[in-house]
């Protein structure tokens, strides 16, 4: 259990801020917290390619910047391609002696829209080509930057501005795309899920992902109080509940081997999670049961993959 490592790990975490205070994210934004932790985990020797989205907008209003590390925004759907270019340029410039040889991590970052929807093709290409880079998806489960529109990562039943609750339709009618499984299907060396409510686990996974040679993918659930219609002070608790209910299990896929980071013999009730969020307030008992059945089935499938079949 990662909890046992807390004391050790907290003291090894740098006090330096690379994603600095003063950026313009909303109160209680767990995505900003996730990005801050990712930046701390990677330290100063990093170049970041950031997709268009919340984190790009809150951190880079010209002429200001929240970044103390080199940071690059090009467009929405091409972040993995931009990172491919950065990684390859570093490689060739070091080989030709134009810049000194040293380890520099190439980090590509995007939200769920920039990753699971519009950026999926570029990401798949970069994973397949085997670039030595880390892709972090900060998943807040909708297009929050443009005003809470549904994405393929929005969970079943959630109300968004384009999957509203109407007289004949109750929020999102499709199930959340399993992006970590898609990344893992590329047979890359490392895939993990994380959540800033488990900061030590997150930091360790990001460090491991950066150290591994080849492409790595870390999918981070990022609670969005604005889009989830939840209280800002509940962001950490909601992240924990997402994990404890089995909705967002924390696991790693290292060289094809699944490992659960935390396993729960008994999962908490889905209602504990949904009742704190306005986006789920319309859910009927039947819908909650449907969600619970699916979550439990998928959790057992994951446990089986991790060698913990019941």
């Amino acid at each position: 259990m990662t909890e046992n490592l807390n004391v050790f790990a907290v003291r090894t975490l740098t006090q330096k801020e690379y994603f600095t205070p003063g950026h313009r994210s909303c109160q209680g934004c767990a995505e900003a917290l996730a990005v801050r932790l990712v930046a701390k985990a990677l330290g100063g020797n990093v170049i970041i390619a950031n997709a268009t989205g919340c984190m790009e907008i809150v951190s880079s209003p010209l002429p200001y910047t929240a970044w103390r590390v080199p940071w690059f925004h090009v467009a929405f759907e091409n972040t993995a391609a931009v990172a491919s270019g950065i990684e390859s340029a570093l490689k060739v410039l070091m080989r030709k002696g134009r810049i000194p040889r040293k380890k520099i991590v190439t980090l590509a970052m995007g939200g769920d829209g920039g990753t699971a929807d519009i950026g999926l093709q570029a990401l798949s290409g970069a994973l397949e080509r085997g670039h030595n880079f880390l892709y972090v998806c900060t998943d807040n489960e909708a297009y929050m930057n443009t005003g809470i529109q549904r994405s393929s990562s929005t969970p079943f039943g959630a109300s968004t501005t384009t999957s509203p609750v109407g007289r004949v339709q109750m929020g999102q009618i499709t199930w959340k795309k399993n992006m970590p499984a898609i990344a893992a299907a590329h047979n890359i060396p490392y895939v993990a899920t994380a959540c800033p409510s488990y900061p030590i686990d997150l930091v360790q996974k990001v460090k491991k992902a950066a150290d591994i040679e080849g492409p790595a993918y870390v999918h981070i659930l990022s609670v969005c109080p604005t889009g989830w219609r939840s209280a800002p002070e509940l962001s950490i608790r909601l992240g924990r509940l997402a994990v404890e209910t089995g909705i967002f299990p924390l696991y790693e896929v290292e060289k094809g081997q699944y490992r659960l980071s935390i396993d729960f013999p008994k999962l908490k009730s889905i209602k504990d999670y949904t009742k704190l969020q306005g986006r789920f307030r319309h859910l009927t008992d039947e819908m909650i049961e449907e969600i619970e059945t699916r979550v439990h089935k998928e959790y057992e499938q994951l446990r089986a993959k991790a060698g913990k079949g019941s």
Partner: protein
């Protein structure tokens, strides 16, 4: 003098990219651009060129990879055509807005629908306003030469713009022409390794690609526009330096037998050579006809064009693209350039050679005949798609 050898123009382009010692090549296959990347991949596979080379999953990513690598300080190359260019068009605007030097060769091909692999300029006209320096070339030698010109120019600290070389697909890309290759030592002297002003590196962190609110956006865009316009002297200077090295001098607008010509043909791209044959023939017949060729499409050479057309009575502008619902894009530009003159020629606009339709010297003569007749009859705003049934 360098060696003059026969080679396919696409191969010559790839050889130039090799001689320019690029660091990274990223592309996606599309006809008729493929021969360039095929040859480059051979050069890398044989160890003749030390560069990162990869075929990405789309043209959008091809240019995005170049943008990422250029921002990191690499000399990059990509090439495309038609639908591929349309797909990467979003990133063309970003590359120039970020002031990242790089080279793209466009093997010009028409835009679907209907789908057609053959040549015209509709692909490049769709990104006319993307903010790159844009050349049109007439033959294989000019493609080869402009690779070196483009890198040296784009990477100049007073320029910092990406550059496009437009070469007509198939008509140039797939033909074998005599090419005079330049010795490597000369090229190394003409084109030293790329020294970026800013680059992504942890030793000196910079933020690139920040977003702008209205209070600062317009100023940023104005700075970009002024920088592109004021790159003109550098373009002239780079061509001069190249001419001093090779004896081949290039100009924004070039003229052929325009002295005292009453009627001027005006072309862009490979039309130029064919049209010059037509001009020779008409001159032999005693007709007062000359030829003006636009080599530099952006920044647009307003002054040079005015100068070149100063004494003409009639201008026959041959476009190789349609601006549907308006007229040929070159004609629009030419008319705009000449409007401020007190004395200006009548402009008759033909669209010809769409989707690779053959345009021969006799076609140019027919177009001049038609334009002269129409203008004589008082039609000063003529526009037609030449040689089309129905």
């Amino acid at each position: 003098m360098g060696k003059r050898i026969g080679m396919e123009v696409s191969i010559a382009a790839a050889e130039a990219v090799k001689q320019a010692n690029v660091d990274l090549i990223s592309a996606y296959p599309i006809t008729p651009q493929t021969h360039i990347v095929e040859h480059l991949s051979e050069l890398v596979a044989n160890g003749d060129l030390d560069a990162e080379f990869f075929c990405v999953e789309s043209e959008h990513s091809a240019l995005s990879v170049c943008v990422g690598a250029a921002a990191t300080g690499a000399r990059t190359f990509t090439c495309t055509s038609s639908q591929g260019l349309a797909l990467m068009s979003e990133i063309t605007y970003i590359a120039s807005g970020l002031r990242l030097p790089m080279l793209m060769i466009i093997s010009n091909r028409t835009i679907s629908a209907p789908l057609s692999i053959w040549n015209d300029h509709s692909d490049t006209m769709s990104i006319r306003d993307c903010g790159w320096i844009q050349f049109f070339v007439e033959n294989g030698q000019e493609v080869y030469d402009h690779v070196f010109v483009s890198y040296r120019l784009g990477e100049d600290k007073n320029v910092l713009f990406p550059v496009i070389i437009n070469m007509d697909g198939f008509i140039l890309s797939h033909v074998i022409e005599p090419i005079e290759l330049i010795e490597q030592e000369k090229i190394d002297q003409f084109l030293p390794p790329y020294q970026p002003v800013h680059q992504l590196h942890p030793d000196h962190p910079v933020t690139m690609g920040a977003f702008a609110l209205p209070a600062i956006f317009a100023e940023t865009k104005k700075a970009q526009e002024e920088a592109l316009r004021s790159s003109m002297p550098k373009i002239i200077e780079t061509w001069k330096a190249f001419g001093d090295m090779t004896g081949r001098y290039y100009h924004p607008v070039e003229t052929y037998k325009t002295e005292d010509a009453d009627t001027l043909l005006l072309t862009m791209g490979s039309f130029g050579e064919t049209a010059s044959v037509a001009v020779d023939k008409m001159r032999e017949e005693g007709r007062s006809v000359g030829l003006v060729k636009i080599r530099l499409w952006r920044p647009f050479p307003f002054d040079d064009l005015k100068q070149a057309t100063l004494h003409a009575k009639r201008l026959v502008v041959i476009d190789r693209a349609i601006s549907v619902g308006a007229c040929g894009p070159v004609a629009s530009e030419v008319k705009a350039a000449l409007y401020g003159n007190d004395r200006r020629p009548s402009v008759y606009n033909f669209v010809a050679g769409i989707s690779g339709r053959d345009v021969t010297p006799s076609d140019f003569i027919k177009m001049v005949d038609k334009a002269e007749l129409e203008i004589e009859e008082g039609n000063r705003e003529g526009y037609e798609i030449y040689g089309v049934r129905g």
